[in-house]
């Protein structure tokens, strides 16, 4: 479980930064181009999965530990809910795009446009990246220990 060979480690230590940046790009431009919170979050999580495959689970867990990932997960869901309820408070209805109606009219196709949709994309991206990393990390913890288990039951 100490990871793969030196070739895989070197290449993945270069490529993981590019994958992470591409995920951030997909999230931030989610309201203009194809992509968005979910796709970008999956790409962000896949950079950590690459780290986990190349360097072993302990290295990835040292980089982004389980409690921190869990807190990021909860923070993404909390931010999404807060933005949705702010629409209810400020705009009169759930998920109302209150920023677009009051502060940002008439700026279509810019990076800073579309009101709350980029913020929702960022929240979803945080949530999906953290939770998908948690899923794969939790599945990788499993170690088959059949013989001890059978001995205990018989």
């Amino acid at each position: 479980m100490k990871g793969m060979t030196i070739i895989v480690k070197t290449i993945s230590s270069w490529v993981k930064v590019l994958i992470f940046l591409f995920g951030i790009y997909i999230i931030l431009f989610g309201h203009l181009t194809p992509g968005g919170g979910f796709a970008g979050g999956v790409i962000l999580a896949s950079s950590y999965v690459l780290l986990m495959l190349a360097f072993g689970r302990e290295f990835a867990e040292k980089n982004l530990s389980l409690p921190v990932a869990s807190k990021l997960d909860c923070a993404g869901a909390f931010a999404f809910a807060v933005i949705a309820i702010l629409g209810l408070v400020l705009g009169g209805s759930f998920f109302v795009n209150f920023l677009y109606q009051k502060y940002l009219p008439g700026q279509a196709l810019n990076l800073i446009s579309a009101g709350t949709i980029p913020l929702l994309n960022i929240a979803i991206g945080l949530k999906v990246a953290a939770s998908l990393f948690l899923v794969i990390l939790t599945l990788s913890i499993f170690k088959p220990d059949i013989s001890a288990n059978k001995k205990e039951q018989n």
């Binding site: 196709l109 499993f142 288990n149």
Partner: protein
């Protein structure tokens, strides 16, 4: 005809989920069924010769934020695509749940064969 092929894919997944005895193959069959339904929903919104529903400078009337009629008449329906994206997210979650159930069962029984997993153990 494409809808019939979609249904055929769904039936293949159903066959795999019902007949096979390996738990991992059952999970694969369930995922094939989900992808068949996703494909069906995507094809409902398709239009022959349509373009992707991505708004750029050419799709807006100059000076305003209104979509041009040409864009509206040629682009495919984006609503099933958004629905299928949500369905993909949910199928990812259910896939993780099924895989973890398989792992737990293998840890407990030492086999994936569902005909050998019969005894209740607490």
């Amino acid at each position: 005809m494409p809808y019939a092929l979609c249904f055929l894919l769904f039936v293949i997944g159903l066959y795999c989920a019902v007949v096979k005895k390996n738990m991992v193959k059952i999970v694969i069959g369930i995922m094939i069924m989900e992808y068949a339904v996703n494909l069906f929903l995507i094809m409902l919104g398709y239009r022959i010769g349509g373009i992707a529903p991505i708004i750029d400078k050419g799709a807006l009337k100059p000076g305003t934020e209104q979509l041009t009629a040409a864009f509206l008449n040629t682009s495919v329906d984006p609503l099933p695509q958004a629905l299928v994206l949500t369905a993909i997210v949910i199928s990812l979650g259910s896939l993780a749940l099924m895989i973890s159930i398989c792992i737990r069962t293998y840890e407990r029984y030492g086999t994936f064969d569902i005909t050998k997993i019969r005894r209740l153990r607490g």
